[in-house]
Amino acid sequence: MKWTCVIVEDLQVAADYLVKCCEKSALLQVKGHFTNVEQALEYLNKNSVDVLFLDVEMPGATGFDLLDQLAYYPKVILTTSKSEYAYNAFEYNVTDFLKKPFTYQRFQEALNKLTTPAGDNNISSTATDHIFIKCDGKLVRLNNDDILFIESMGDYVKFVTFDKKYITHNTIKNLEEKVNRQTFIKVHRSYIININKIDDIRENDLFIKGNEIPVSKAHKADVLKRLNII
């Protein structure tokens, strides 16, 4: 049985391409395409779907406004051309985030996340979307998406988030094995970074929210491979 889905997208060529991808997958049945949130809400309040392909910036309300107003929560795949929305995407616990235009292979990767059985999905997300670190005599939860990078300080490491820094007894080598490898990548013997937080890369350095982080020659190729370079 196919998953039912709706596409909320104001760019016609992007919507057509999504329809094509859905048809090719043979896993999804497109129930409708809407170019703004109001039209989509009218449909979604009367009809339930399994999957929502959702653009963020559209005329009038945004895709996030739609999620705020939905009475139920289908699996959501955001489709946008702005990487800056990745943070909100995780806040809304969306299944995936596709940056337009995306390849069919990338679309399939998103579908793979949809087809994970619900129970497994829950286990997986709780197991991989955050970590606990020992800090100041307590265990502190850090969401992966809040962590910008991790820096070695000898026998200690510093976790740098948007607004705080946490120092804990650990090593980069040990953490490399334990952090979510989809989100984090080692770029230097002293640094693990959140791949989704890179602002720009220049020669042998990358920048995250004003922090300059060295990228060693040994890791540069791996870092570049993980970026969505178009």
């Binding site: 104001d10 760019l11 060529v13 057509d16 391409y17 051309s81 178009i230």
Partner: protein
């Protein structure tokens, strides 16, 4: 995307990133033609929205309009133009009035107009190419 196999390979204009197009659509030239056609159909509407927002000094709408149009160029392989739109979008984020964007706006209007001509020309070439293989 249907994986049509033509013995002859279409030669895209050098400004179009053909490898990128193939990564999206493989060698499904019929579908690439459709993509170009859809892009052309909606081009003026999106372009006019940019011009209208600029002329009425509506920076919020200008940001939205350029943001909407930006990925269009990726879909037709004009990755450089997509990047130029991104740069202009970044300028818009910082601007408080159209007057601050005069020079950047004039440049992007020329780029977009030239892009439309190129897309139209490639569309006609693709149409002819595909009709020869039907």
């Amino acid at each position: 995307m249907s994986g049509s196999n033509f013995s002859k390979k279409f030669i895209f204009n050098e400004k179009i990133d053909s490898e990128y197009l193939y990564s999206l659509y493989e060698d499904d030239y019929q579908y690439i033609e459709e993509i170009y056609q859809t892009t052309l159909t909606h081009f003026d509407e999106d372009f006019n929205a940019i011009q209208r927002a600029y002329e009425t000094n509506n920076i919020s709408d200008l940001k939205k309009a350029i943001h909407k149009m930006k990925p269009t160029f990726g879909f037709v392989g004009l990755t450089l133009v997509q990047h130029i739109c991104k740069v202009f979008e970044d300028f818009c984020q910082k601007a408080t009035s159209s007057n601050e964007l005069t020079s950047e706006y004039q440049q992007i209007v020329v780029t977009l107009a030239e892009s439309k001509e190129l897309i139209a020309s490639e569309y006609n070439k693709l149409k002819e190419f595909n009709s020869n293989f039907l």
